[in-house]
């Protein structure tokens, strides 16, 4: 009879894509092309470094912001999708990749142009990728079903309604990390600092999509819980001579599903629909040309 060790477990999270869009105005003076930096109201409290965002004009007019983001006729597209780095002053830089956005700085940032007029824009965070949460030392996940008593006169034994509401909650224990060190692995890990920032995020709340792997080992079928979560509590322990640790408590919101098999992958289409990739074989889009 097999037993399983925690080494095969890990946590992945995806930044919540179902948030309410931030409506604001992008003024010409908000953009500093030489510094590749712009600012909008609410950005400091609503956006977190590493967020993938879509910024679009409200009226679908050309978005004059990203240099070279134009169609065949030279007209600016009405929207742009990329990753953001938000500095302490609320300044925003755009990047093509998650890792560049986390690193920040002007070198890899997307070049900007100054808008000719003020533009009403909507900024919405969205992300389709799950990233591993780094430095997780332990996680606990509890699923429970509400007990609704249905005892009536004459009963000798307790009775319950069998379909009470299902809920889930848990705790993540992580070593604190807020930046990637030099020569430190590959991929795009999320850090515990993101969850600490998430609970403080204004406007868009503290939701994330979580995958909690019980077992994940190479090509073998994995076992994992999949649910949407909200961060409810973040505790930080800073002690001389000790590793800085953080405890993140979360509650599931919505369905909780226990999967066994291969994690699903999605191929995005322009119309935001998805094509489910059910096996490992190449699909026709990849075979083009």
């Amino acid at each position: 009879m097999a037993i399983f060790l925690g080494q095969q477990g890990h946590v992945e999270l995806r930044r919540d894509a179902s948030n309410q869009a931030l409506a604001t105005t992008l003024d010409p003076d908000d953009v500093n092309p030489s510094r590749k930096r712009f600012s909008v109201d609410f950005a400091a409290g609503a956006l977190i470094t590493g967020d993938q965002i879509t910024i679009a004009t409200v009226d679908k007019a050309p978005l004059e912001l990203v240099a070279g983001h134009v169609d065949d006729t030279g007209e600016f597209y009405p929207d742009y999708r990329g990753y953001v780095h938000v500095d302490d002053a609320g300044g925003v830089r755009l990047y093509e990749t998650f890792s560049d956005s986390v690193a920040g700085g002007p070198d890899a940032a997307v070049a900007l142009v100054k808008p000719s007029t003020a533009q009403a824009v909507l900024i919405q965070t969205r992300d389709t990728n799950y990233n591993c949460l780094a430095q997780v030392t332990k996680y606990e996940l509890t699923t429970s079903r509400d007990q609704v008593q249905t005892d009536v006169l004459g009963d000798e034994f307790r009775s319950y309604y069998e379909a009470g509401l299902i809920s889930g909650q848990g705790t993540l224990s992580c070593f604190w990390q807020h930046k990637q060190g030099l020569c430190e692995g590959e991929g795009n890990p999320e850090f515990s600092s993101y969850l600490a920032r998430l609970i403080l995020r204004l406007k868009q709340g503290s939701g994330f999509d979580g995958r909690f792997y019980v077992y994940s080992c190479g090509a073998e079928p994995a076992v994992w819980y999949d649910t949407k979560c909200i961060v409810t509590n973040v505790g930080l322990s800073v002690e001389p001579g000790q590793i800085v640790q953080t405890q993140i408590q979360f509650a599931a919101t919505g369905p909780i599903v226990l999967h066994q098999g291969e994690p699903t992958a999605y191929l995005l289409q322009e119309d935001s629909g998805v094509i489910l990739q059910e096996d490992g074989s190449a699909i026709e889009l990849e075979d083009g040309d």
Partner: protein, 156 residues
């Protein structure tokens, strides 16, 4: 059996020999008004009994069950005592609410048990559907007159 609890409780409606299904609780309150007969020079308040009254309440889950080929719902039966329908909007002349006889029963281990037979008028029915709770009706009633003489709850 020295003590009694919910396990020994039942509620019978309108003389039925079958206890109502899915009754969560019943309760009653017996009140006697008192009339003051204190007069000048009295040093202590004196009283005589006035009018007695009884009221109570019960709670039933809204629950369908099969009895033979018929589907029954005792909660709905009580609702039907007080709620009467009209044929059109604004129809103000409809059937009067029905009285009901409730037997609040305690199974004391004897063949007859202990009970109060109460001729009652339902005065209030309250139902609320909410997440995480089972649908139930809270029914309040006022007793019409005295408990029936068949009652034996007060017998020692």
């Amino acid at each position: 059996m020295p003590f009694y609890a919910g396990q020994q409780g039942k509620l019978f409606i309108d003389g039925s020999t079958t206890p109502a299904a899915k009754v969560v609780s019943w309760s009653f309150t017996s009140t006697a008004n008192v009339l003051d007969t204190t007069t000048l020079s009295d040093t202590d308040r004196t009283l005589i009994y006035g009018v007695r009254s009884m009221s109570g309440s019960c709670r039933l889950y809204y629950y369908n069950y099969a009895e033979g080929a018929a589907v029954k719902n005792d909660c709905a039966s009580l609702l039907n005592k007080i709620i009467k329908t009209g044929s059109t909007a604004g129809d103000g002349e409809n059937a009067a609410s029905d009285p009901v006889t409730l037997r609040l029963y305690v199974d004391d281990g004897t063949s007859t048990g202990k009970f109060l037979d109460l001729p009652a008028l339902l005065t209030n029915v309250s139902m609320s559907m909410s997440v995480g709770e089972v649908l139930a009706a809270d029914v309040s009633f006022e007793v019409n007159g005295a408990p029936l003489s068949s009652s034996n709850l007060t017998n020692s």
